[in-house]
Symmetry: C2
Subunit: 441 residues, 2 copies
Amino acid sequence: MNQKEKVDIILYNGVVLTINCSDEIIDYGAIAIKGNRIINLGKSEDIRNKYQAEKEIDVNRGVIMPGLVNTHTHLAMSLFRGLADDLSLDKWLNEHIFPAEEKFINKDSAYWGSLLSCAELILSGTTTFCDMYFFEKETGFAAEKAGVRGVIGEGIVSEFGDENEIFANKMELTAELLDKFEKSSLVSIAIEPHSCYTCSKEILIKAKRFADENNLLFVTHLCETKKEVEGIKNKLGMSPVEYLDEIGVLDERTLAAHCVWLSDADIDVLKKKDVKISHCPNSNTKLASGIAPVGKLLEKLVIVGLGTDGSASNNNLDMFSEISSASKLSKVSTLNPETLTARKTIRMATINGAKALGMEREIGSLEIGKKADIIILDFNKPHLVPIYNYYSHLVYSVSGGDVQSCIIDGKIVMEERKILSFNVEEVMQKVNEIARKINVL
Amino acid sequence: MNQKEKVDIILYNGVVLTINCSDEIIDYGAIAIKGNRIINLGKSEDIRNKYQAEKEIDVNRGVIMPGLVNTHTHLAMSLFRGLADDLSLDKWLNEHIFPAEEKFINKDSAYWGSLLSCAELILSGTTTFCDMYFFEKETGFAAEKAGVRGVIGEGIVSEFGDENEIFANKMELTAELLDKFEKSSLVSIAIEPHSCYTCSKEILIKAKRFADENNLLFVTHLCETKKEVEGIKNKLGMSPVEYLDEIGVLDERTLAAHCVWLSDADIDVLKKKDVKISHCPNSNTKLASGIAPVGKLLEKLVIVGLGTDGSASNNNLDMFSEISSASKLSKVSTLNPETLTARKTIRMATINGAKALGMEREIGSLEIGKKADIIILDFNKPHLVPIYNYYSHLVYSVSGGDVQSCIIDGKIVMEERKILSFNVEEVMQKVNEIARKINVL
């Protein structure tokens, strides 16, 4: 008699979208998970003949795909969701968000805001995020509590005080993060100066040096608004991209968020330096910042991932909404419906997001040996019937609420829409308590 | 002892967004429903002191608002959802949709496709639709089965055969619709020539005359693509709007879908003639048709409602996604974040949609005497916490799946996400059977 190999979880009877290099789809497919890794995948029959598990989940013809990678978040900003809308980035930031942050963001609120966002990420199919904010240690703790994979980094803004003091403090906090999460299988660290208009040249250079010395991702906002680009051009006689290139902070370990206002020359620089882009379509449209030239970036083979931005400027963290918007905005802004096809957009939200974070060897596709970051979608719903093309539904018909279950690092963090890793009701209550104070601002 | 008046349904303990002329919000509000009408609304305590009902629903601090009005659908096209994407309107229509319609749209398939769409409408908060397609009697039957309010009209395309014969046949079908649904409290009839590029001048004029004689809404596609506008200009030396104005079919009972490519002169004509607009942002972006100048239309006080278009070009019927897109696209296309605020966009999807259909005295807001078309949203969810502004959440954070319950014409058609009016599983199965044949196209 055949002795079956023991694994921890088997998902079977699904449509497995691998998002591997040939976009292979395994119908009636299964995945075997051991520890935090995918140890095999294939036809359900074959996998179930070879392995057995305590937990075997019949996916009932649902879609099994890699968890989504959200390359740009400010998780704790969920505290300010809907506090101020219908305003430009400039007004929104300076008149509403900065004063609210000054008064209400602390260790405690950052933790609860981040944990609320983790709930939202999980419930809408995101398994990895890349965050920039304050009190990032708390965001790291929230990620670990929730069981979500995250890259975290203290946002550095040098203009509000003595820049050397600020930088020293931020590097101290970063050293603490590196220490605290050294052995974490979920949390890793990045260096994240806010932007070239809020950080001095010296700080940008020092931050990049620190990133390189510690082999960390360098994350910054870039060319988000026309005003930003014009400001830098007026001041320095060159575009923000040219400026960052000149001071030597652009390379393959640089992740630039937004990149809405790029010239063709800028795009060439970004390509040459292999800079990764985090495209945030919903935030960019809501703040009337503009539409990033994603079609052009992809033509030049620049790696573009997707991000939600913070939920104060979005106002949610649903990556499926981002996917849909990215595809449609690229089409309408070029009047070309063939650009950013469904298939390309799904790659953007998964494997290309992983590449943007330098994590493509671990996550972003379902392949043997990769981390088990997996989501399951229920397609037996009126708005997903009939099915001719899975990619089409994922981009144009699905919303985050269609995600049924979510596995991160081999652990089931959500099953049948119920989060298993922490008490969501308690988190919503805590955030509501904090918000009551903010509301009287 | 106080004798309470008996009503059929009481909803209480909600946040009632009335969408009346002053956008009044009643916190801890309640609504009393008798038959198919709202007979009173106010503070929960007052309503519950005055009325009693067999069915009293504690909304548990959720939002109670008017059901959404979807002013442009092709319901049976759900059969083709995802069949062909990433194509221009022209290619999509001529190479994929028209051949599929020719072969697979019949009485039976139109009924099941429409009923599937009714499920989707209900589940995402739409209580009234305005449909143009073939076999509209079946769509009317589906609406009655599902309990959804609808305006239906046979799509008239005069270019595929002898136009007089086609028109005579369509008027015969329309007479049948008028007869069949004369006493329906849900279904009403419109006259719907497809467009000025698929219908001759004579047909457009005759159709409008028939509409006027029977006091019916006249619905047509208008200025959807640049190609359409250029085609008409090359042929006739004037814009489609100018042409329709010249032949006398534009007035306050005309509903024009899309209106993407409008000149300032066109907008003036539309305003002067009080033509109503159905804005379909997701379809327009997905097909790369363009972004309608909604800000300008609103400045001129043109009535604009929202529509999803068919789910083959969208690819869903979620009006909350349409709401979000409308607001964001208006902002980004004008680089003005203050245009189409959350509050204005919600009016567009409710009372202004009702005005577009000429039904504003019956639906579109929660007021005494109006039809009880009401939706309830659960706001106790991570992506809707905290709450500073209900309009903001409805536009920027909610998706259709957050609609908890739905009442149409005084009947509860969905409760706690379960459709009560018909068997959705059976409908999905029927549509899947039909789709298996289409898939081998």
